[in-house]
């Protein structure tokens, strides 16, 4: 059981990696600041380095959300197993739709769902759920959008003049640095979550003394899993974030990433944790608004918003079902694993029908005939059907043609 959980946790780490490549690399890819392959390689390397840099165990996993120990509820490996299944399913489903949802929310949702079924609603602290997850999730995108809006206005105002267009292309160099910082920060945060889950499992399974940090091999495999996931690249999500929400010019990209970096660093160090995914997407919307209000495709943005709202409950529901099955005993767990594997294979096969990879990641979002409806009928059909509105600014058009 413990081995199974470790493998699943690593797979989650992998999906986490490719889900979140977009946060850092979508805009530099979209503006041509970095070639797609180069961008994901840098991101992977920095994620790898980042995972080793941080020595603090990510306590965010439990973080008081699930009342544990001393009179509380003991979380079992089975619950973690079910939670991970829910989280992975949701991560893959949103990836298939190209939606940048928060991997952390999927993980929390999965664990919450499994714990509610396994130990009852009393095991969840609603106060912590609201103050640590729900409110920040609602506030993060607006805050990031506001900051990026101001940053974009500044970038355009300062560089306006005779050679504005040529000058603004130079922001690409800056993008390389800002996006690298986002990647590094991501590595120090997100790989930690899986390390925390694996360590928690090892402790729960009696393989490790309580209160100890992650073993070196756990750090190493987690680091490699997230780096591999990042390298493989969630091209679908990169396309949505980079070219789906708005057409990003280098100046906007730089402003958006500077805002993302500033917001994430400030939130980590001043004690108001925010989701990287939501900050990054919010920044891009803000950058779009800062240049031209009509350049933002609100249908795409709205769809992303819906995905954020349903991420936690959906992952929770799937994990709850998995936990119900798992409680039947070894056969239930085997059925879980089988069902999970089947859905994963189905989703990857579905993805192959309209592949998105480094070759077509900056292209127009095409119309997909087969809107995937495997797991989640709740979410409206894929981003693909959104019609890009007319963007009056010639600036980004030109940038696009240059890439093509």
């Amino acid at each position: 059981m413990v081995a199974l959980v470790v493998v699943l946790a690593l797979f989650f780490d992998f999906t986490n990696g490719f889900h979140d490549t977009a946060n850092a690399m979508a805009t530099p890819i979209a503006t041509g600041a970095l070639k797609p392959r180069v961008a994901v390689s840098i991101a992977a390397l920095l994620n790898l380095v980042g995972a080793f840099l941080s020595t603090e165990v990510a306590r965010t996993i439990s973080g008081g959300l699930i009342r544990e120990g001393g009179g509380g509820i003991q979380i079992t490996p089975t619950m973690i197993f079910a939670g991970l299944i829910g989280a992975i399913m949701w991560n893959l489903a949103t990836w298939l739709l190209g939606l940048p949802s928060s991997s952390s929310h999927a993980l929390f949702g999965g664990l919450i769902g499994a714990v509610i079924v396994g130990a009852g609603v009393g095991a969840i602290d609603p106060g912590v759920l609201l103050s640590k997850i729900v409110f920040p999730a609602v506030l993060a995108p607006f805050m990031a959008a506001g900051i990026a809006f101001v940053a974009t206005k500044i970038a355009y105002r300062v560089t306006s003049g005779h050679h504005a267009h040529a000058a603004r292309q130079r922001f690409r160099v800056g993008q390389v640095f800002t996006s690298s910082l986002v990647s590094l920060a991501h590595g120090t945060n997100d790989a930690q979550k899986t390390m925390g889950v694996i360590t928690l499992t090892l402790i729960a399974g009696g393989f490790q003394a309580a209160g100890t940090g992650p073993e070196f091999w756990v750090i190493a495999v987690c680091a490699f899993a997230i780096a591999l996931g990042t390298y493989v690249g969630g091209w679908r999500i990169i396309r949505t974030v980079g070219t789906g929400i708005t057409d990003v010019s280098p100046a906007q990209g730089f402003a958006a990433e500077a805002s993302t970096t500033a917001t994430i660093l400030a939130s980590t160090h001043l004690g108001f944790a925010l989701s990287t995914t939501q900050v990054a997407s919010g920044s891009i919307i803000g950058a779009g608004l800062g240049r031209n209000r009509r350049s933002v495709r609100w249908r795409v943005a709205g769809r992303i918003g819906v995905a954020w709202l349903v991420t936690l409950p959906c992952a929770a529901i799937m994990a709850a079902v998995a936990e119900l099955l798992a409680r039947l005993g070894p056969w239930g767990i085997a059925a879980d694993a089988l069902a999970g594997a089947t859905v994963i294979v189905l989703m990857f096969r579905r993805a192959r029908r309209n592949p998105v990879n480094h070759t077509n990641v900056t292209g127009e979002v095409p119309v997909v005939k087969h809107a995937p409806s495997v797991v989640m009928p709740k979410v409206p059909p894929s981003i693909a059907s959104a019609k890009p509105p007319k963007v009056p600014a010639a600036d980004s058009r030109r940038a696009h043609r240059e890439q093509a």
Binding site: G50, L53, S54, T55, E56, G127, L130, S131, F135, L139, M143, G146, I147, A148, V150, A151, I154, A155, V158, T159, G161, H162, H163, A166, A167, R168, R170, F171, G174, F177, L181, L184, A185, T188, A251, F254, A255, A258, S259, T261, A262, T263, L265, A266, S267, T268, H269, L270, G271, F272, L274
Partner: protein, 76 residues
């Protein structure tokens, strides 16, 4: 329940930090672009602009290093 104080703090700090770095980088970029054009007419003015632009990029570099410092826990 919601920690408004730390939220406002994070919002203000992020806004200031992002604005400052974007302003510095933008001024640097504008000067650099001007410098390349000005060099033909007035080489001295071009040189001054280039030097200022480079200094500003240097400041950006320091800010990036500060970001790395903040990210890596081993440094503090």
């Amino acid at each position: 329940m919601i920690e408004w104080e730390s939220f406002v703090l994070v919002a203000v700090v992020s806004l200031v930090a992002a604005s400052v770095i974007v302003t510095i980088a933008s001024i640097g970029i504008r000067l650099l672009e001007n410098a390349t054009h000005a060099q033909k007419q007035d080489p001295r003015q071009g040189k001054v602009r280039l030097a200022v632009a480079r200094t500003l990029f240097g400041v950006c570099g320091v800010l990036v290093l500060f970001g790395v410092y903040l990210i890596v826990p081993a440094f503090h």
